[in-house]
């Protein structure tokens, strides 16, 4: 096949491209420039798409002996990922930009362009297994990325190649070293790639401006403090609330809900965070709709928040009952359904319900 390898400059995508070459494919490497003004160097594990990353990707392509180009995707990324991220926070939701990037950039804008230019598929260094149109978890549970790929449609998956799903991250690093790839020991990237300093609240404040409002107790309705903008909060957050007085009994208080319309942040005790029911949007079934109600596992965050669950449809929308209540589930995140290690479906969380009304 003629494959386009998306090369971030990290170890995973370098080894993925190498494996595609070994498998006999005709591989071309592409680094995506996602920032209009890339920084010169990385800051630890944060950020991406710096000139240093582009160079690392180029050097990996050199070692593999494949052609290499930089594709400028900063406009699409800015509109579909960064602006979306800001808009979601402004609406009181908690988006997952990695998931959005896979959905809109890597397996949409990049894939479409690749196909138009004569490529058969896009190969990436995601840790997930894909065969016969079925997406499964990586054998390395700590590095599994099937959650952020679960938003891909069957059509998108049919043009994706993930060569790393059968390997642990340690294996990948060892292989990179043995192949002479300089990125073998490069730190994993974490956090939101386009917020290089890691200060999400500061980033949002710059984009959205400050909008002070009240922090309200869920049970008494009492105003406990002030905030500088609802976007600075995430469901389940405990730190940085700066409340005027402690709760009765000294229990810690958590963000339970965020309402940009009334510009309030509601807080309360931990028990109120427990979510039993998740109301989500129209689901995507990448390998066909399962028999409903579906019994399996639901995952509500990129890492963790797993529970045995039962899923059904209500007026076309997904409703998931969690057997084990989960904390800190926010609208805007994805709920992904698994049958053992197989991805069955996904949908965006719209609202959650606890046993005790929040």
């Amino acid at each position: 096949m003629k494959l386009l390898a998306a090369m971030s400059g990290g170890v995973d995508s370098a080894v993925a491209a190498a494996r595609a070459v070994d498998a006999g494919h005709d591989v071309t490497g592409v680094h995506l420039a996602l920032s209009p003004s890339p920084a010169a160097a990385r800051q630890g594990a944060r950020g991406c798409c710096t000139l240093e990353d582009a160079r690392d990707a180029r050097r990996a392509a050199d070692v593999l002996g494949i052609p290499f180009y930089v594709w400028d995707m900063h406009e699409r990324f800015g509109a579909d990922v960064v602006d979306d991220f800001v808009a979601e926070y402004a609406a009181g939701r908690t988006p997952n930009p990695c998931l959005r990037c896979n959905e809109k950039i890597k397996f949409a804008a990049v894939l479409d362009r690749a196909v138009a230019l004569g490529f058969d598929a896009v190969v990436t260094g995601h840790h997930a297994r894909l065969s016969g149109g079925v997406l499964r978890r990586s054998v390395d549970p700590a590095k599994d990325q099937s959650y952020v790929l679960a938003v891909l449609s069957a059509a998108q998956l049919s043009r994706a190649v993930f060569p790393l799903g059968d390997s642990t991250k340690d294996d990948v690093r060892r292989e990179a070293a043995s192949r002479g790839l300089a990125v073998a020991a490069k730190p994993d990237s974490h956090d939101v790639c386009f917020i290089a300093d890691g200060d999400t609240r500061g980033f949002l404040a710059r984009r959205l401006g400050e909008a002070p409002g009240d922090i309200v107790d869920a049970e008494s309705g009492e105003v406990l403090g002030r905030h500088e903008g609802t976007f600075g909060f995430t469901i389940g957050q405990r730190r940085g609330l700066r409340l005027s007085r402690p709760a009765a009994g000294g229990q810690p208080r958590y963000v339970l809900s965020i309402s940009p319309v009334s510009n309030t942040v509601t807080v309360g005790r931990a028990g109120l965070l427990d979510v039993h029911t998740v109301h989500a949007g129209v689901p995507l079934w990448p390998s066909g709709r399962p028999a409903l109600p579906f019994r399996g596992t639901a995952q509500l965050r990129a890492h963790g928040a797993l529970s045995p669950a039962t899923a059904r449809l209500e007026a076309g929308s997904l409703v998931v009952e969690l057997a084990e209540p989960q904390r800190g589930i926010a609208a805007g995140q994805a709920v992904v359904l698994y049958d053992d290690d197989r991805v069955i479906g996904s949908a965006t969380v719209r609202s959650t319900r606890s046993v005790v009304p929040a």
């Binding site: 000139l51 002996g65 052609p67 180009y69 594709w71 400028d72 406009e75 362009r113 138009a116 230019l117």
Partner: protein, 407 residues
């Protein structure tokens, strides 16, 4: 897809000579001979004197073919350094002699080595820059320069206008522009990196005050060039140190590179007429062939059938074309995969390509600017190179159109 290499030469159609062109065998020989020798041209012993002799002979040879005096040849590390030295050095010297002179007049289509120097002076040195427009062919008109000077002649530190544009190949009427600048005793610098060897360049006859030339665009090595600087033109140094070059430029003289540079300049200028005839013929074939296969492609810049300063009105080896509905990046990649090597001509430091400021200045839309390619021919170009492009361009454009133009 992977090209075979025969004897170290790729079997590709290399159509990017304006980026860099292969070294002439004679220049390689001259450089090799010097590389195995020792001697700092500034040393006083026999080995040093021998190196100095190589440098001075090179200086005389370059001065001779470019119409300058030997003392007017200031060796540098290449085009970027020469441009920086001329723009900053002339600005500082002229401003320090008269503090009113803070204004620089430049064309909008200069190379980034000039443009970024101007922007740096604007930010760091409180300089003011007046940009001259170009017409749809990419040409600066002397009347525009006269008008810009007339706004406040006493403010002007210098004028800098390139001799021939690196992207679209338009040749500027440099002697006329210099004459206009001199009406008010203002010095003019010209970046002649693309012009030397392609059009007649005579430093004295053109009356310019400073002229940038570099080695690797005309068959010499990368990393060496010169600023031709009139004897009476004051220029403040950028690099400080041993003062090797007229106290205007410091740094140990690179005798091997300078020797090769001189051989390349001499040979390229000597063989100019014949080579230019051949390259213009190939260029016309290339353009005609592309337009035959892609009827809506647009040939940008001067048609090349006129005369400017006694030479061709367009660089003979330059063909710059826009392909509506395509992205230049996609075209480049698809051609590369078919063994045709060219350039989008746009500044691209981090992979985030900007639409060409040259095409934009000529009135092109962003889409047209982004959907453009530069094919540039040089001394090793053959009809087979053009043929290889012509056999690829039709399907490549069709393919790139499917990928579409960027919104």
């Amino acid at each position: 897809m992977h090209r075979s290499t025969l004897g170290g030469v790729t079997a590709a159609a290399y159509l990017d000579h304006a980026a860099t062109t292969p070294m002439l065998p004679s220049a390689v020989r001259a450089m090799s001979e010097q590389l195995i020798r020792v001697g700092n041209p500034s040393s006083l012993h026999a080995a040093g004197r021998e190196s100095r002799r190589v440098v001075e002979e090179a200086r005389e040879a370059i001065a001779d073919v470019l119409g300058a005096r030997p003392s007017e040849v200031v060796f540098t590390s290449g085009g970027t350094e020469s441009d920086n030295l001329a723009v900053k050095g002339l600005f500082w010297a002229r401003r320090d002699a008269d503090l009113r002179r803070r204004r620089i007049i430049a064309s909008t289509i200069e190379h980034h080595a000039v443009l970024d120097s101007l922007e740096w002076l604007r930010k760091q040195e409180d300089a003011e820059v007046t940009y001259l427009p170009v017409d749809h062919l990419g040409r600066v008109h002397p009347r525009e320069l006269r008008a810009a000077i007339a706004e406040a002649p006493e403010d002007v530190a210098l004028v800098t206008i390139m001799w021939a544009n690196n992207e679209v190949g338009t040749v500027q009427p440099i002697a006329e522009l210099a004459a206009v600048a001199h009406e008010n005793a203002i010095p003019l610098h010209t970046d002649a990196v693309q012009a030397v060897g392609a059009v007649p360049v005579d430093f004295a006859a053109s009356r310019v005050d400073a002229l940038t030339v570099t080695g690797h665009k005309l068959g010499g090595p990368v990393g060496v060039g010169a600023l031709l600087l009139g004897r009476d033109v004051a220029c403040t140094p950028v690099l400080h140190g041993g003062g090797q070059e007229r106290d205007v430029r410091s740094g140990t003289l690179d005798a091997p590179a300078i020797a090769a540079f001189a051989v390349a300049v001499t040979e390229t200028v000597r063989d100019r007429a014949e080579r230019v005839r051949r390259l213009a013929g190939l260029r016309d074939e290339l353009v005609r062939g592309v337009l035959d296969r892609v009827p809506d492609a647009v040939f940008n810049g001067d048609p090349g059938d006129g005369l400017v300063g006694g030479g061709p009105s367009r660089l003979p080896g330059n063909a710059h074309l826009s392909f509506p509905g395509c992205e230049g990046d996609a075209l480049l990649m698809l051609l590369d995969a078919r063994g045709v090597e060219c350039s989008t001509g746009s500044a691209c430091s981090a992979g985030v390509s900007q639409p060409s400021h040259v095409l934009m200045a000529m009135g092109a839309s962003v889409d047209r600017a982004r959907g453009s390619l530069r094919f540039s021919l040089g001394h090793t170009s053959t009809a087979a190179d053009v043929e290889q492009l012509l056999s690829a361009i039709g399907p490549v454009v069709e393919r790139a159109r499917m990928a579409g133009a960027r919104r």
